[in-house]
Symmetry: C2
Subunit: 395 residues, 2 copies
DNA sequence: CGATTTCATTCAATTCATGAAATAAAAGGG
DNA sequence: CCCTTTTATTTCATGAATTGAATGAAATCG
């Protein structure tokens, strides 16, 4: 596997075929034709090239046996055809892993460090160091390294400038260019919530959803938006700051320095802060209650403790009102609630739906489905891998 | 002009060239090449066909004379190459006009009727009757009639079903299909606010704005969204109900039956209702204060009358908070405030901006420009014409 | 085993965009 | 007034990409 020609992945239909195979898993050529509206002849011709280049391969394990006629030959991406580095930067933590050509990821290497004390130079150095470690560990059977993706908390501009991040004290640093120069590879930076949204929308059953909002509950409240089938990143990289839409104009002070944000009612730190003031709970780092502390709070509510219950009800109301604004403005087909904070979703749901009924006319409400989405694994790294594979361009 | 071949307007680059000429006015072939990234040879070939088909023509009035070299030959669309009917349905009023191939419109014929009393059958009949009148009046030199566009107040689904409209008592009527059957023409229905947004974004100076929100103040508050350069219509047709996002959860009752909507602070009827309760104003049809009444209210505020002034200030605050949610969620590059209600914009602006400062962190706020946009003519009909020309598909 | 069905490939034909070269139409300079 | 320069447009041969039609391949069914 030496002469892989990844430069010619540009021609439109080659790329579309690769994306389709990546999305819809192992797939016969006929079905490919159906998906991207191309004649069998073209499919045959292009898959022929791709196979010669080693980018795709026929699946050994034939399954769709039943039925008459010549059996389908399933094709899939060769995971090792190429690889890329995926990096996740969050508060006090950098993670890095190897992404393969099929969109999968390898083992994650993590490093704890005090990100708030980093200079912009120090940040770049830390990133480069982690990436070099990951590159050194690339198994020998992998094809060329084609790019690097950076998933970061905060506002990203033009896929390269980190305008602002809660993880950093510095602002407006171009995190893509220096890394690109150092490795001589294309580098793309993206908001972490957008990565997660991309990753979720990648699931086959969600492919048809044109307008999707993924709301992430946790310490903060984030959102990723897929609009018209494409990731919506305002050209500024701002946007999707769902957590900072308003619930009560004169409400409590939020992280962001403003008042009454949804986040200051629904975020973990808000729930724990209020719980602590009313219950007898340990006074730890108020900004980042631990998973155990939060789970304990949920358990309390589930066991019927009135104070804990009412906290989640209040959060549910705030969330419902926030969603009502989202629905009135965008009218997504589907809203998925996920993030570590879904642990409390059942406790919030009733009040959330009551708020929605209260705030929205039926005609609007009926157009949008709202449900929770399990939070098993962190989808951020998977999302940035998909973005790099999609060719940097938002698609 | 008899053998116009409009069926072959589909091939991608033909269509792109026509759209580019429509957007950027009279234009030389060289410049066209620059705009849509096509070689001079291709431009020449395609414009040749289009000219032969009579869709475009060379501009007689040559202007760009100055400079060396062969002078540019400007081309423009032949307005009479084709035409379409544009219809606007609003409360108690139907308007209809002829749209030409260049995107212009002819004289508007209007008819007043009690729309709320119409059955779905009666509505269709009224529409067809108006359209027939318009068709009968098409000047002889026009090319074929290629389609019909319906701009309606309310929620439109799949470009054909009017899910709900404030103008009607009936719901869920397919207004496109029966009209299409009757005239044997493609018919497309669209929300009126979306039409206006499309129409505004059509201006040359706004072509580059990728994410644009157009907020329309008036009796009600509407919004049209251009996201990623394309009109955002939630697949449901809901969405962009900016007027019904929330300002005060327990605020006054809105038209829509819910409480605290922006519209119930900023809408004409809200301003006039509050003004009437505090000032000595005539008690007319509370739902639809007249233009004169509203202008009088603005004049009062401009002359410094404290009660009137404070009304607009309150409206400004509500508007500001509404916009802060919009910006946090979508992060548009530009927000334009327009509609008949801009007459009071100056009175609202200070408080509006104060609210924005109060509600949003600077980093977010700095990404979005907000300004007013003059409301000279009704752009709805122009918008639906553009949509029909764009081929029905949202682009 | 042959008929039928479904999947995949081959090949010639067609369409479409393009680079290079030619042509067109002006200004400027002697 | 003619020749050169400059810019715009067209012509033409070439090449790339997609496709319809025909063919081949691999299974099931009776």
């Amino acid at each position: 596997m030496d002469k892989i020609d990844l430069d010619h992945t540009q021609p439109l239909n080659r790329h579309r075929i690769l994306q389709a195979v990546r999305l819809h898993g192992p797939l016969a050529r006929v079905d490919l034709g159906g998906i991207i509206a191309l004649s069998p002849a073209s499919i045959s011709s292009i898959t022929g090239e791709l196979m010669r280049d080693g980018l795709i391969r026929e699946v050994p394990g034939n399954d769709a046996g039943r039925g008459r006629g010549r059996p389908k030959v399933m094709i899939e991406l060769t995971p090792t055809a190429a690889c890329m580095i995926a990096v996740k930067l969050s508060i006090n933590r950098i993670e890095v892993t190897l992404g393969d050509f099929a969109g999968g990821i390898g083992p994650v290497q993590a490093r704890a460090l005090n990100t708030l004390e980093l200079t912009s130079h120090g940040l770049i150095e830390a990133l480069i160091e982690m990436i070099e470690g990951c590159i050194a560990a690339i198994p020998a059977d992998f094809g060329p390294l084609t790019g690097i993706g950076l998933a970061v908390q905060g506002l990203v501009h033009s896929h390269e400038t980190l305008v602002w991040s809660p993880a950093l004290a510095v602002r407006n640093i171009n995190i893509a260019a220096p890394v690109a120069r150092h490795f001589n590879l294309p580098v793309i930076a993206m908001n972490d919530a957008d990565c997660i949204a991309l990753s979720i929308r990648h699931r086959p059953e969600l492919q048809a959803v044109e307008n999707l909002a993924v709301v992430m509950l946790g310490t903060g409240i984030g959102m990723g938006l897929i609009l018209g089938g494409r990731l919506h990143s305002a050209s500024s990289g701002a946007g999707a700051e769902f957590g900072h839409t308003k619930y009560q104009i004169d409400g409590p002070l939020c992280h962001c320095g403003r008042r009454g944000c949804i986040e200051s009612f629904v975020g973990d730190y808000a729930l724990y802060r209020d719980a602590r003031s009313m219950l007898d709970l340990p006074n730890t780092d108020a900004l980042h209650p631990s998973e155990e502390q939060m789970q304990a709070l949920v358990d309390l509510a589930e066991s019927g403790h009135p104070v804990a219950t009412s906290l989640f009800q209040q959060a549910g109301r705030a969330l419902g009102y926030g969603l009502s604004n989202l629905i009135a403005l965008i009218g997504p087909d589907l809203v998925l609630i996920t993030g570590s904070g879904v642990r409390g979703y059942q406790q919030m749901e009733t009040e959330m739906r009551r708020s929605l009924d209260e705030a929205l006319v039926d005609t609007l409400l009926a157009q949008t489905e709202i449900r929770s989405y399990p939070w098993d694994e962190d989808l951020t790294l998977r999302g940035i891998v998909l973005q790099v594979l999609a060719g940097g361009k938002i698609s």
